[in-house]
């Protein structure tokens, strides 16, 4: 296994309490595979990415669990070893493109420093940078390298970071929402590029995104996170076609359709994400779940196999919600067992 995460719990210091931000997360990435991570904003996706990259911010602590990369125990590695891995074997594309680049250092210097760190010989650095920038459709690399990040658009910064990530031929790229600032045509080119890297060089990718179209096109497996926990995981086709966790099901139903009528109300999941300092008892999704049963208020569901290779943490699961609660007929969902508005029912 290239990357093996087991029982990972990460806490953050808030005031004088340690709040669990990620709880008991486990997954693996085989060499050459592409794993998608989706889920609620604030669910802990970036935290997992930062654990793998070894870039947890101050106040964060790995409370338990293990993270193994190419057989090496990452949290136990020395700071020097982590720095060596990051850049050479693992590349990280952070979520915020503008603030991830140093505003007072030219793009060229930052790129060169990054390549130096990855031990690319000095004489080759310029060429490597120019080629990588051309791959992400940033042309005119001479002019670009002389500029400062604030002189670039959001999407240009994002592409500079992507170019830095793959220029050093890492075994694993951890990409945290790498296409949010890109229009769909440039995004398509970046996705094709990542797909090619994966096919031709066997680069494994962990792709965090809110864009379900990106997951559908690029990833082979997907993890769904809610409130710090992995609530479902499995092959992409299966999760899209037959999600078993009500959160996954609700999330997929919230995707806006390109042919939706103007100003039609978009579907969303009612209620607020839980406060991680005082998470709800039982299933963390129960206060917002349309299909909850009594057990959900008190007992915590564990991930278990719901179909071959597909895991979900739910007492009810969508198979039962469909059969017994008429889930598919609900057009508007509300918290409570099988509750919501059905087709043809009056709404005000």
């Amino acid at each position: 296994m290239l990357l093996d995460v087991a029982g990972l719990t990460v806490t953050a210091r808030v005031g004088d309490a340690d709040v669990p931000i990620v709880r008991d997360a486990g997954f693996t990435v085989a060499p050459g595979r592409i794993l998608g991570i989706v889920g609620e904003s604030g669910a802990g996706k970036s935290t997992i990415a930062r654990v793998v990259a070894g870039l947890l911010p101050p106040g964060f602590r790995i409370a338990s669990g293990s993270v193994t990369f190419e057989g090496e125990d990452l949290p136990a590695a020395s700071a020097a070893r982590r720095r060596e891995l990051l850049g050479r074997r693992i590349a990280f594309i952070p979520q915020a493109p503008l603030s991830s680049l140093n505003p007072v250092v030219s793009v060229g210097r930052q790129f060169a420093e990054h390549l130096a760190h990855a031990r690319v010989p000095r004489a080759e650095r310029r060429g490597v940078a120019a080629r990588a920038l051309a791959e992400v459709r940033l042309d005119d690399s001479e002019a670009l390298l002389a500029r400062y990040p604030f002189q670039l658009s959001g999407g240009m910064c994002q592409r500079v970071l992507i170019a830095m990530a793959f220029a050093t031929n890492p075994a694993l790229i951890v990409a945290d929402e790498p296409t949010t600032a890109l229009d769909v045509t440039v995004q398509a080119q970046i996705l094709e590029l990542l797909g090619d890297l994966n096919r031709d060089l066997g680069t494994a990718i962990v792709m965090i995104t809110h864009n379900m179209g990106v997951v559908a096109g690029l990833c082979s497996r997907v993890l769904v996170m809610y409130a710090g926990e992995i609530v479902e995981q499995g092959p992409v086709e299966q999760i899209f076609e037959n999600p078993q966790h009500p959160y996954t099901w609700s999330l997929l139903r919230s995707i806006p359709r390109v042919d939706a009528l103007r100003h039609e109300r978009l579907r969303s999941i009612e209620g607020l994400a839980p406060d991680l300092l005082h998470p709800p008892a039982g299933c963390r999704f129960h206060p917002r779940c349309p299909f909850r049963i009594e057990k959900c208020f008190t007992d915590e569901p564990r991930l278990q196999e719901v179909a071959p290779d597909q895991l979900a943490a739910c007492w009810v699961t969508m198979a039962r919600a469909r059969k017994e609660m008429g889930a598919d007929d609900l057009i508007d969902i509300r918290p409570g067992a099988g509750s919501g508005v059905r087709k043809g029912e009056l709404t005000d």
């Binding site: 005119d140 929402e177 949010t180 559908a216 096109g217 390109v258 103007r262």
Partner: protein, 337 residues
Amino acid sequence: MAEGVLQQEPAPMKAGAKTLVRVENVIKHFPAGLGQSVKAVDGVSFEIVEGETLGLVGESGCGKSTLARLVTQLLPVTSGKIFINDIEVTKLRGEKLRQQRRQMQMIFQDPFASLDPRMTVGDIIAEPLVNFGVMRGRKRSERVQELLKIVGLNPNFNNRYPHEFSGGQRQRIGIARALALNPKLVVCDEAISALDVSIQAQIVNLLEDLQREFKLTYLFIAHDLSVVRHISDRVMVMYLGKIVEVADSAGTYTSPKHPYTKALLSAIPVPDPRIQRGKRLVELSGEIPSPLNPPSGCRFHTRCPIARVPTPCAEVEPPLEEKARGHLAACHFSQDV
């Protein structure tokens, strides 16, 4: 393209509405050394009427954020005029400009870079209220809590600092701040791109509710074309500093009249693994030309599938003109698109 795109919708009814924003031939060039300049926005004119949502889409780097900053007066124009409510804001200075700014708020593209890390979230959201002396004491803090709730954040979070929030949570802080003063015009620059689809839906529904209630006007920049179609009355498409197409959103999506718009639409990723896997990803290849030296004639001709070069496409700049009722495009061969 998804088949449903062909569905027709009634044209928006904004007849008789007042023009809130009028942009006349605006140019913004950034000096780039060696006597060169980045032609970020290069001769752009359009209007936004009160209560309308104008969607703005286009290639990364084509000048959308620059245009947004020009409209909100965060950047001076190189030339051209911008009127808000018939006041020429490009001429205003000092206190007059400050008062005018109160009516225009911007939600920024990068929520990490735009929030002061030393201020608590409560103070960040209250800042516009403080600056303009609106509400005090209890009332002010109640308003902050209300705004937090409106954007789906826990009201008790107001004492926390921005770094304690995830990307999407920070973006919502920016949205709450922009709404604090009940502005007339809100410019949303990729305001929802860091949010999961369910929260995106909540925010879009919220923006629409606020619009109905307070007659808000939006300039809505986004790369997610489904959301843009949903929220916009009209959609404007930019390419390399120029407007290439403007029409009501049904027109833009169902019968695009510019080849760039068509390429954009065909690149929308479909959230279905079976369809998306088999799809040809790249519909629009070729180098993105440099805004230092935009191509002659039609700026799109170097990548256009239907261009006739050299003439007219590489020689004559196509004007932005009406191709169907209320549907403007800048292409010599829009009938072939």
